[in-house]
């Protein structure tokens, strides 16, 4: 049966007619056409589908759209400034070459932004632990870790 789900995505109020079993990631990718959020595994393992819901990083493949009713959701498309200036975490990924094919990157960045809010100056081991739910098939973890460390400091400095 079709039901209506209403939420905020990247600051804009949106609603969609969905099936009750529709996943949040399906609403984001197929209804709103925000295809920066990726589906890598569809089994809660890889974190490519990570978005921010009410300020917390969650896996959008592992929840129903209905669970996000009334929520404030941010996807990778919403983190840069409207004039195109990259978010400090995005800029750090670019600067430190924290991506290769880029498939895992949106999820990495969304998780990293949430993590950095409570860790303004994280250690390498804290970053690696925070990445437990994000897999990179290109296995470029070393630069991802460097990028997140730099991005966290830049966020704390208000850059």
């Amino acid at each position: 049966m079709a039901v209506k789900v209403s939420l905020k995505v990247n600051g804009k109020s949106v609603s969609a007619e969905v099936e009750e079993r529709t996943l949040l990631v399906t609403v984001i990718r197929e209804h709103l056409r925000l295809t920066g959020t990726h589906v890598g595994c569809d089994t809660a393992q890889c974190g490519a589908c990570t978005v921010s819901m009410n300020g917390k990083a969650v896996k959008s493949c592992s929840m129903l759209a209905m669970q996000a009713e009334g929520a404030d959701v941010m996807t990778i498309e919403g983190v840069a400034k409207p004039d195109g200036t990259l978010h400090p975490m995005q800029a750090a990924f670019k600067e430190h070459h924290g991506l290769q094919c880029g498939f895992c990157t949106p999820g990495m960045v969304m998780n990293a932004i949430d993590f950095a809010k409570s860790h303004p100056n994280p250690s390498e081991s804290e970053i690696r632990e925070a990445l437990e739910g994000n897999l990179c098939r290109c296995t470029g973890y070393h630069n991802i870790v460097k990028a997140i460390g730099a991005g966290a400091k830049a966020m704390a400095a208000g850059k």
Binding site: E20, Q45, A57, V58, K59, M66, Q67, E132, G133
Partner: protein
């Protein structure tokens, strides 16, 4: 995923009225949504507990720490009250899965699911927890019945879990490196001379290790358990670890938990 009817009740009573037949309760969905995708569960109705206000929250009164069923793992891990009263419980919540899973997964969902490798059942068993539902109360001992099986009746809803505050405690887990679930996890709790030891991951369901409890109650020190050999009969054996290896790990993890509790 098969189709279902979705409900968003605003109270436990309303949820209970809907929880009939093939209906299923939805907490964080970190287990259930994937199970439905695989069609291992095909409920007729989904009853979302997420909007019932009084189901989430933490209360601490010195003797017990009570965690609402819908309290997320991350909120338990970061709670100043839990860290103060039972630091081992906050640490356990912070070890579950990954940070995205901890943002959604709930204490009640974990206890209700009773996965053989889940962490919370070990805390519930070692901290002599009381599980409160809309129908009554259960001691942890009588609640966990077997693999993915509990004493919950059809449609029964966990509302909160009360953990007793020990003198000292620690949880150590040998993680599956991919899923972070416990290959073996041991929770040791000292209530001042009376010690409880709960083991998860090793068997079909959480269990207490009586010989270790006796030895630690006499003397709370790592050497009390270091030479206790755990029998491998009935323990889990899979591609990650044989029963023999798991039996060995129980002793190693118990010893490390005692060391950690003494720090």
């Amino acid at each position: 995923m098969h189709a279902f009817k979705y409900h968003r009740p605003s109270s436990v009573n309303d949820a209970a009225a809907l929880a009939k037949g093939e209906a299923k309760l939805l907490a964080g969905g970190q287990t259930l949504v994937q199970t439905m995708k695989l069609r291992l569960a095909s409920p007729s109705d989904i009853i979302d507990l997420g909007t019932i206000k009084d189901l989430a929250g933490i209360k601490s009164d010195g003797k017990t720490v009570t965690i609402g069923a819908m309290t997320r793992h991350a909120d338990v891990a970061h709670s100043a009250d839990v860290k103060k009263a039972i630091p081992a419980l906050a640490a356990l919540a912070g070890m579950i899965g990954d940070r995205q899973v901890r943002a959604m997964g709930t204490c009640g969902g974990s206890i209700a699911n009773n996965d053989p490798a889940a962490d919370y059942p070990a805390a519930a068993m070692a901290l002599n927890a009381t599980i409160t539902t809309n129908k009554g109360k259960y001691e942890a001992e009588k609640f966990f019945k077997g693999m993915f099986t509990t004493a919950l009746g059809a449609g029964e809803i966990i509302t909160s879990i009360s953990f007793q505050v020990p003198k000292r405690a620690a949880y150590t887990k040998f993680k599956n490196p991919a899923s972070r679930f416990a290959i073996v996890g041991v929770f040791v709790a000292d209530f001042g001379g009376s010690v409880r030891v709960a083991v998860t991951g090793a068997g079909p369901s959480v269990f207490r290790q009586a010989d270790m409890e006796k030895a630690l109650s006499a003397k709370f020190a790592p050497e009390s358990v270091a030479n206790i050999k755990v029998k491998q009969d009935g323990l889990n054996s899979d591609m990650h670890a044989s029963a023999e290896y798991r039996a060995h790990l129980v002793t190693v993890m118990a010893k490390r938990a005692v060391e950690a509790a003494l720090k």
